[in-house]
Amino acid sequence: MPSSRDVVFVDGVRTPFGRSGPKGLYAETRADDLVVRVIRELMRRNPGLPPERVDEVAIAATTQIGDQGLTIGRSAAVLAGLPKTVPGYAIDRMCAGAMTAVTTVAGGIAFGAYDVAIAGGVEHMGRHPMGEGVDPNPRFLSEKLVDPSALVMGMTAENLHDRYPSITKERADAYAVLSQEKVAKAYADGKIQPDLVPTAVRTAERGWGLATQDEAPRPGTTTAALSTLKTPFRPHGNVTAGNSSGINDGATGCVVAAADVARELGLAPKMRLVSYAFAGVDPEVMGVGPIPSTERALRLANLEMSDIGLIEINEAFAVQVLAFLEHFGLADDDPRVNPYGGAIAFGHPLASSGVRLMTQLARQFGERPDVRYGITTMCVGMGMGGTVIWENLA
């Protein structure tokens, strides 16, 4: 059976992302219901894909308890009404959960174990705050395996400013403002809405409503306003709520298939998987993770950064994007990078974000047939980076 065949990204969608918390969009909405909505929309948007041809449902969540527990890939598949013959599983690589769901099922497809899979992720950080229920091994600290700051993401971002003294708070804030502006423009141009799945939301107090757009973006953000924000992770530090992604709720999903099967079913794939790589770095500077993972992915694909026409990089923190750009010699405002803006504005429901990057890259590919290669990359807690290189099929 072992084989190697082309793997394609057929289609991706996501729920609008909400702000976590008691007043947030999804305050009283279950995480698994968000996943169900995504799966059903994928099936609806791709009527050529018979439900029984889905061979796997891989759904990522960082905190796999409560409504994100119960092997969410399987339970969401059942709740979504996929045939009971369709298996599913849960997967976790913190922020790169959905990305890992995609690369893992892609590996299975290339190997010949699957023809078609659904991969995605969810994080309801309101119902499951970061670090909920974790129990770090005391050896981490006693043996100094990691720095005490490694488990607090904001501190790792501050650490990154230390490693890259040239990246100032001003540069980080300016980057954040640009991200907000790009998101506002992408919304105005209707680039985001087509891949959002309107999602019913209900609160006991207000009744039913419908989530139709992201809740987190703050259009009109200025550097002046950002300069006044607190730096909660370090006195007189650099990292603020304004130059970081927020605490968010949301789900993403995509259909990944073998190229020949996509052809057989008459699906319209948007991207071909070229290579992927994950890499580890010191956990206390987890933000540099995308650098080694991208270098590795480029090497595997036999490509150079100059071959890459579009980059979707997750903006966990502005500083971490800037470190990546600086490493690869790209300008802070390089137009190839996050043309629709990024997580600083959209938000970052941890394990779901990887597929948002892919969905947006796919849409940009559609508008830019001149671009051949693009990458999606992100940093990961506990000191990792992940990168996937895609070829434009538009």
Binding site: A80, A200, R202, A204, R206, G207, T212
Partner: protein
């Protein structure tokens, strides 16, 4: 608006305790740029176990929401949906019972109309998204909207008003026939309520044309909103049939005939509903709704409705918390059941125990052939269930494996509950229990399904009489909801609690009764039959006596009931009661002749009278008129019930009524029976105070 104030003043004070269904309004941006919808969520603030209902406060809340919506100019549409699992289940019955004046009764109808009809008379289209149970006034909310979607997960769509003694009087009788045609409307408004309140599911409702679109529950609201957007943008056109062009007279007169067969005019509501449906073809909205107001007011102030509400409460509440049952925590676990006997009754019980308790059930009989037949019956019934898809193949295997037969009672050694269903003879039953007691543990509950023998006498010689209890099923065991649980002279609380727990697990409604001859249902039915046959014995023509009580709307005539029970069984119970109370229970020589003839009753299979059988009842020199028979029977019932209450057979008249409703199928409009006897003046003194199951003074 002045009207609303008048209605508010009339109604709200009386219904201060109402659990108010709020109308929460939230703007929704419809997909595809179809504009803004004001989406109303009906929600009383509780979970699905307390569904949304409408009383005056809830109606006024919806009215307020609609008033605000009506003033807006930025809306493309209005939507209405429910809280999770529930759209709305109708009028607040407790509040309805609090209305006792005609002005108030008219006001509740008029207020409902005023509020609901606004949904269909706004400047923009309205959409009902029926996400969960929609009954009565809840369904009427949806009917008033311009369009409806429904979830395929909705378990219950119904207009059950007629079953209680009302009509769907907030627009239902006028809007539904025009939407889905008179025949289908009659089915929902009249026929289903009179057929044990049969429910319609979401998909059926869609197929009937009640809803314009059907969506799955997983993303029902999202897809409904998407559909609404497409309707607004003209991408979807909803086709409706003009039913006013079809023939309404025939379905209405057919239905009237059927209702008459069942009720003989005993309950007014279904007749009023048919009148209103007939009116709906030509009446304007104003006329139709005004006619509904009048009908509602008449019915709200009828004793039949009060009896209906009382019956509903008995079945919904009292049946779930049986009066006099000991603390449930005393109940012992039942992990294996023994059934003595392998006849039809025993086999039916074995099947029920296996299905509901999911524990091993052993049938015993002295005869291998009978045993095989009994087990085979259960297996065949399980196969039937599997064939209908009611149980899965695995469940069928499990159920069949649970039910086994044994020639010896040793198989009961580890049973927790052993019930006998052997021949109705005290000596036989005593012998059986002696044999059972020799093998079972000392705490094993022994139950008898006797219909008339003394439980105390049956246990007299047991080593542990405290674990014997009466457990009286009604035939057919799987269908009839009543269990009479009989406390014998020695029965202890743990045994009784176990019996109630088993009854609950069997999904039966249990009533605690004293160890008195024939308990409740059979005693009253036998007294009833005894008087009818007594009249025939005296010379009343059988057909006169047979139809003397038609006006009550009982489920069966006396001789039809006798035929169902079987003349021999009926005779046997009559003899037992005659022995106990010779002055009130006779034994008819003519009935004995019928039993001797071996005929199944006075009717042939095609329900025509068997003249030979009727001839057995000829003779007698003092015929009564139908009216005299009716008087005699009802007076006798009132007398017997009074004596039973004095004897303490049950805790209260409510238990008599509950038994007659669930065990004999006596109708809601009679309230079982005591509310009717009270209101018709047959009881020397009232069973229930004025205002209970009747209008307050």
């Amino acid at each position: 608006m002045r009207n609303v104030d008048t209605w508010r003043a009339l109604l709200t004070e009386r219904t201060k305790d109402e659990v108010v269904t709020k109308a929460l309004v939230r703007d929704v941006e419809l997909p595809g740029g179809a504009g803004t919808m004001a989406l109303i969520t009906l929600d009383n603030g509780f979970d699905h176990t307390k569904p949304n209902t409408f009383g005056p406060h809830g109606l006024l809340a919806l009215n307020g929401a609609l008033s605000e919506i009506a003033q807006r100019t930025d809306l493309a549409a209005v939507g209405v949906t429910g809280k999770p699992f529930v759209f709305g289940v109708g009028a607040d019955l407790k509040g309805a019972a609090a209305l006792t004046g005609r002005e108030e009764a008219l006001a509740i109808g008029a207020l409902g109309h005023h509020v609901f009809r606004r949904l269909g008379e706004l400047d923009v289209p309205s959409f009902a998204f029926v996400n969960g149970a929609a009954m009565g006034g809840g369904l009427e909310v949806a009917l008033h909207c311009t369009y409806r979607t429904i979830s395929s997960g909705v378990p219950a769509v119904a207009l059950p008003e007629c079953s209680l003694g009302l009509v769907p009087g907030w627009g239902g009788t006028q809007l539904l026939p025009r939407l889905i045609g008179p025949a289908n409307a009659i089915k929902l408004i009249v026929e289903n309520p009179l057929a044990q309140n049969r429910m319609t599911r979401g998909r059926q409702a869609f197929e009937l044309g009640l809803a314009d679109a059907l969506f799955e529950p997983a993303d029902f609201l999202e897809e409904s909103l998407r559909w609404a957007a497409r309707v607004l943008k003209g991408e979807v056109t909803v086709e409706r049939t003009d039913h006013t062009a079809t023939d309404w007279d025939k379905p209405v007169s057919d239905a009237r005939f059927l209702v008459d067969m069942k009720l003989h005019g005993a309950a007014p509501a279904p007749y009023r509903a048919l009148d209103l449906i007939a009116l709906a073809r030509t009446a304007s909205r104003d006329e139709g709704f005004a006619a509904e107001d009048e009908a509602l007011a008449d019915l709200l102030l009828s004793d039949e409705l009060r009896a209906g509400l009382y019956s509903f409460d008995l079945v919904q509440r009292r049946a779930k918390r049986p009066a006099g049952a000991p603390d449930a925590s005393l109940a012992r676990k039942v992990t294996k059941v023994g059934v003595v006997g392998a006849g039809l009754m025993a086999s039916q019980m074995a099947l029920l125990f296996a299905r509901r308790l999911e524990v091993p059930v052993v049938l015993t009989d002295l005869d291998q052939a009978r045993l095989d037949k009994g087990v085979a019956y259960v297996h065949a019934e399980v196969d039937k269930l599997a064939g209908k898809g009611r149980v899965s193949p695995d469940q069928a295997n499990r159920l069949k494996a649970l039910v086994t037969g044994s020639l010896t009672k040793d198989a009961f050694a580890d049973a927790d509950f052993v019930i006998e269903a052997v021949f109705e003879d005290l000596a036989v039953k005593k012998k059986v229990f002696a044999e059972v007691e020799a093998v079972v543990r000392p705490d094993c509950v022994l139950a008898t399904n006797t219909s008339s023998l003394s439980v105390t006498a049956m246990g007299a010689e047991l080593a542990h009489p405290e674990r014997l209890v009466g457990f009286h099923f009604f035939n057919p065991v799987a269908v009839m909801p009543l269990l009479e649980i009989v406390r014998g002279g020695s029965t202890d609380d743990a045994t009784l609690a176990t019996a109630f727990a088993v009854g609950k697990a069997l999904k039966k409604s249990s009533v605690l009764v004293k160890d008195a001859p024939a308990f409740v249902v059979n005693r009253l039915l036998t007294r009833f039959m005894g008087e009818v046959i007594g009249a025939v014995d005296e010379g009343t023509p059988l057909e006169t006596a047979e139809h003397a009580l038609d006006g009550l709307g009982l489920p069966m005539t006396p001789f039809a009931l006798l035929q169902l029970v079987g003349p021999a069984v009926g005779m046997h119970v009559a003899e037992t009661l005659h022995e106990a109370f010779p002055e009130r229970f006779g034994v008819s020589a003519k009935l004995a002749a019928l039993v001797a003839s071996g005929k199944p009753g006075v009717y042939r299979p095609d329900f025509s009278l068997d003249e030979e059988a009727v001839a057995l009842f000829a003779g007698g020199s003092a015929p009564s008129t139908a009216e005299q028979v009716r008087e005699r029977v009802l007076k006798a019932l009132a007398e017997e019930i009074r004596i039973m209450l004095d004897e303490g057979v049950v805790a209260a008249p409510q238990d008599i009524d509950l038994c007659m409703i669930l065990g004999a199928g006596w109708p809601f409009h009679l309230g079982g029976i005591t509310p009717f006897l009270d209101r018709a003046g047959y009881a020397p003194s009232r069973f229930l105070p004025q205002g209970v199951a009747s209008l307050p003074v």
